[in-house]
């Protein structure tokens, strides 16, 4: 049910801060199991005009991050384009970038499959791959119409007796035990009234931050009245390792005798995009970061397609390639709070995110390796557009890594159970916990992690 103010006498098993894909998935999972949940969202029932005011620096400057940070019931599902693809095993353990996720890749597969129907995708095609050439596999990217979580779950949340939904309220302060081992209180401010209200958190109750890629860090960077370290940021790493997914639009072209449409899984009605991805062993051998070569069919009446078809004696097809890839995680890329407050009463963030030379070379290298492979095999030719790689990088609206997951506090903010190191009842879920970005669109993994956290909080899943 929807509530207008913080209930004074309710006792919740879990308080979820943020009602985007992660928060709603977690709340409905817990509510379905009979747990009492308070779901708090700083925005309203629909996206409004107010933005978070983040100031970007580096390759994603100005108001870039605010375009992809939706404060409303449904969160970033309002901005999601519907792409659904999961990481590869390499993305969970890539020696090239020196990052290993603290959870086994295989343990995530059931959660990705459970996440797919929540996003109105078909579980059978989660992780679907088909052979292409040695070194590269074909990886279709289904692009169903995007699921808006406010539309899909709004009525269920309204009808739920287990879940209280409080809109228009921001978490502005946390309190903890003297030893900072547990959160003891949460203070919210209502945007309409400006009234503050504090909710006591008793032993056994849990608090989950599900406020988005930057929002989670923002809450762990809330200033303390005594000037001490922000609660939950004892590691000093909250806000660090900010990542995007670099996109190099039309960075290459491909002419090949392979008609990629024939590789699309027949049982999936689509629509979707074709993509070629390096096989893990090949990627490690060639020091590749996560990278997807997305291929769009163009006219076959193309000079190179006709030339190669003549040379090979069989039809050839022409594709444009957009490279979607991974940033090397760096603690220098970080969001820090400023003294300024945004429209939601929270500190305005300054977000620095700079790609390094290797991130650009990775895109070129992946194209070059595909080109060399196809030349050796007599299967096609690749064109590399350097201007598009080195001078036209864009992003995909994915905000990753600011509360990274890892085995210990000196290298990460949350553990494999998504619990903030050192706290018994404070959790974080969302793309902010990704220790590396891979190339895959993050939404299905965000939802999968929320399902996994739900199992953990219900005592049904042991992540560590």
């Amino acid at each position: 049910m929807y509530v207008n103010a913080l209930p004074s006498n309710a006792r919740y098993d879990v308080v979820v801060v943020g009602a985007g894909p992660a928060g709603i998935t977690l709340a409905t999972t817990l509510g379905a199991a009979g747990r009492r949940v308070l779901l708090v969202e700083s925005g309203g029932s629909q996206p409004g005009t107010a933005v978070s005011g983040t100031k970007g620096y580096g390759h994603y400057p100005g108001g870039y991050w605010n375009q992809h940070w939706v404060r409303a019931l449904g969160g970033t599902s309002h901005a999601w384009t519907g792409w659904c693809t999961i990481p590869t095993p390499l993305d969970f353990d890539n020696p090239t970038i020196g990052v290993r996720w603290p959870i086994p890749y295989a343990s995530m597969l059931p959660y990705w499959r459970r996440a797919a129907p929540i996003l109105d995708h078909l579980p059978a095609f989660i992780g679907y791959e088909a052979p292409f050439v040695p070194g590269f596999v074909y990886r279709p990217v289904p692009t169903q119409p995007p699921t808006r979580f406010s539309e899909k779950f709004g009525d269920a949340l309204r009808a739920s007796a287990a879940i209280d939904v409080l809109l228009g309220h921001s978490l502005i302060d946390l309190d903890a035990t003297p030893g900072r081992s547990a959160i003891t209180a949460l203070t919210f401010v209502g945007h309409g009234s400006g009234a503050r209200a504090t909710l006591a958190v008793a032993p056994g109750q849990r608090v989950v931050l599900a406020a988005g890629g930057l929002g989670n860090a923002q809450l762990l960077l809330l200033p303390r009245a005594d000037g001490g370290a922000s609660l939950g940021n004892e590691s000093g790493l909250a806000g660090r390792y900010l990542m995007e997914h670099p996109q190099f639009t039309l960075a290459g072209e491909l002419v090949t005798d392979a008609e990629l449409d024939r590789l699309w899984p027949a049982a999936n009605p689509g629509p979707g995009m074709h993509a070629l991805v390096a096989e893990p062993e090949f990627a490690v051998e060639h020091a590749l970061q996560g990278c997807s070569l997305q291929c769009s069919r163009k006219t076959d009446d193309h000079d190179m397609a006709r030339f190669l078809a003549h040379e090979l004696g069989r039809p050839c097809y022409h594709y444009e390639i957009t490279v979607r890839s991974e940033m090397r995680p760096s603690e220098l890329n970080r969001a820090v709070p400023t003294p300024e407050r945004d429209a939601f009463g929270l500190p305005v963030l300054q977000a620095t995110c700079v790609l390094d030379a290797g991130d650009f070379r990775n895109a070129e290298r992946a194209l070059r390796l595909l080109g060399e492979t196809l030349m050796r095999l007599g299967r096609g030719r690749v064109r590399i557009n350097n201007d598009r790689i080195y001078q036209n990088v864009d992003g995909q609206g994915h905000t990753l890594g600011t509360t990274r997951m890892g085995p210990a506090r000196d290298t990460s903010v949350v553990d494999a159970d998504l619990r903030v190191h050192g706290y018994e009842n404070l959790y974080v879920v969302g793309s902010s916990v990704f220790p590396s970005g891979g190339f895959a669109n993050p939404t299905v993994t965000i939802v999968a992690l929320a399902l996994r956290l739900g199992d953990h909080l219900l005592g049904q899943g042991a992540a560590t």
Partner: protein, 79 residues
């Protein structure tokens, strides 16, 4: 003429051992100075070894293909 005898009492084997240890220490020091941080650029791999392809307007083609393509363009655009 015979070589003068060593008078310091240090055997040849010991000298070789000391020299070997010195070389090992120097090697370790070199390795230590040249070590990476683990977060820097990846070491060059076999992908950085150029293979025999030519560039034709950005396309990776064989040298023979490039010659053929250039000739085709020239034939299509006679002076």
């Amino acid at each position: 003429m015979t070589a003068p005898k060593r008078s310091d009492g240090v055997s040849r084997r010991a000298i070789f051992s000391i020299a070997g240890a010195g070389v090992a220490l120097a090697s370790m020091a070199t390795l230590w100075r040249s070590r990476g941080s683990g977060a820097e650029a990846a070491p060059p791999g076999p992908q950085d070894v150029p293979i025999g392809y030519a560039d034709h307007e950005g396309w990776m083609v064989t040298p023979a293909e490039k010659a053929s393509l250039v000739a085709a363009v020239a034939a299509a655009n006679p002076r």
